[in-house]
């Protein structure tokens, strides 16, 4: 049999056999996926482990403490016009992050259509949503530290571990959002200037970029939203 010079000569198998076939030696494992996207997925997998370890340590201290846990529904309540709404700010933050994920998905789509203007605007809207999310988090932290007296080593409402796990988990997530906002602005600028069409080399990696970068950026951003889904469920709603 003559050696084939591309993997398109033979029809790629599907189903379970495709896993064995794709991982076999002497060929590209992740077909139809640019290397940058595969690497982003592997990075996100490692980040999944980090966040799960944080959330698991939170679960462990919460389940093992004999001191009552502060009720998140009351701690994070907002009073508007004399009425107390439980978790209102957190709910707003959730909807904002979901909307930013929506605009990000649209940006990826318009990027592959070579619609530079729409892509850049959608990326900037996503960044604005992300920045407002971080802003609300700053407000929440300030309220908790200044008004409620929550510290990493203790708080007036109950178990001391509440502060340490809260600041660690939301702080790490907020850092991810902030880094995402910075990179969204960088990618939006590149799209706006048409650097993915003119094959301009990037300032950091000196590599030629293309619209795959928008999708890779999107993977990171959706992951940030994904982590919030879990934080919202197990930290705020528990």
């Amino acid at each position: 049999m003559a050696p084939s010079d591309s993997d398109t000569t033979v029809a790629a198998p599907t189903g379970l056999t495709s896993i064995a076939a794709d991982w076999s030696s002497d060929q590209r494992t992740f077909k139809n996926v640019p290397w940058g996207k595969a690497m982003m997925w592997i990075f996100l997998l490692s980040d999944t482990f980090i966040f799960t370890i944080f959330l698991t340590s939170y679960m462990t201290v919460r389940m093992s403490t004999t001191v009552p846990w502060p009720n998140p529904s009351e701690v994070f309540a907002l009073t508007i016009g004399g009425t107390k709404f439980p978790l209102l700010l957190i709910a707003i933050m959730t909807f904002i992050l979901i909307s930013s994920s929506g605009t990000m998905a649209l940006a990826v789509n318009f990027g592959y259509r070579r619609d530079r203007k729409k892509t850049a605007i959608l990326l900037l809207i996503t960044a604005a949503f992300g920045a407002s999310f971080v802003g609300m988090q700053v407000f929440e932290w300030t309220k908790l530290i200044v008004e409620e007296g929550v510290r990493p080593w203790g708080n007036p409402m109950g178990a001391a571990q509440f502060g340490s796990t809260f600041f660690m988990i939301t702080g790490f997530h907020g850092t991810h959002v902030s880094i995402g906002v910075i990179f969204l602005i960088i990618v939006a600028r590149k799209v706006w200037r048409g650097e993915y069409d003119s094959n301009t080399r990037g300032f950091f990696t000196s590599q030629k970029g293309n619209y795959e970068a928008v999708e890779i950026m999107g993977l990171y951003w959706h992951f940030v939203d994904l982590v919030w889904v879990f934080i919202f469920a197990v930290f705020y709603l528990w």
Partner: protein, 107 residues
Amino acid sequence: MEKVEGQQHPLGVYFKIWGWLFVLSALSYLVDFFGFESYLRWTLILIFMALKAGLIIAVFMHMRWERLALSYAILVPPILLGVLIWIMAIESDYTFATRGIFFGGAP
């Protein structure tokens, strides 16, 4: 132009998922708002959480259109985390019990 290997799908699918994520988030907020307690609360919260996570990964992150070699490489390792959570849940129950015995704080 350079060959780009990307995901291209109709816009409608994103709007549909966006809407579902809003509905599911609203439902999980309502669980807290109406103050459901105990097993009903955990079940509802975890179901809504799993559905939201699934929709984001499958559609927004395009996992349902990827080849299985990539999907399995990314989605199978987190099963280990389930084992970690299970072990630590057992361990914290034990810690809680011992604290109750030695410090007398447990109900």
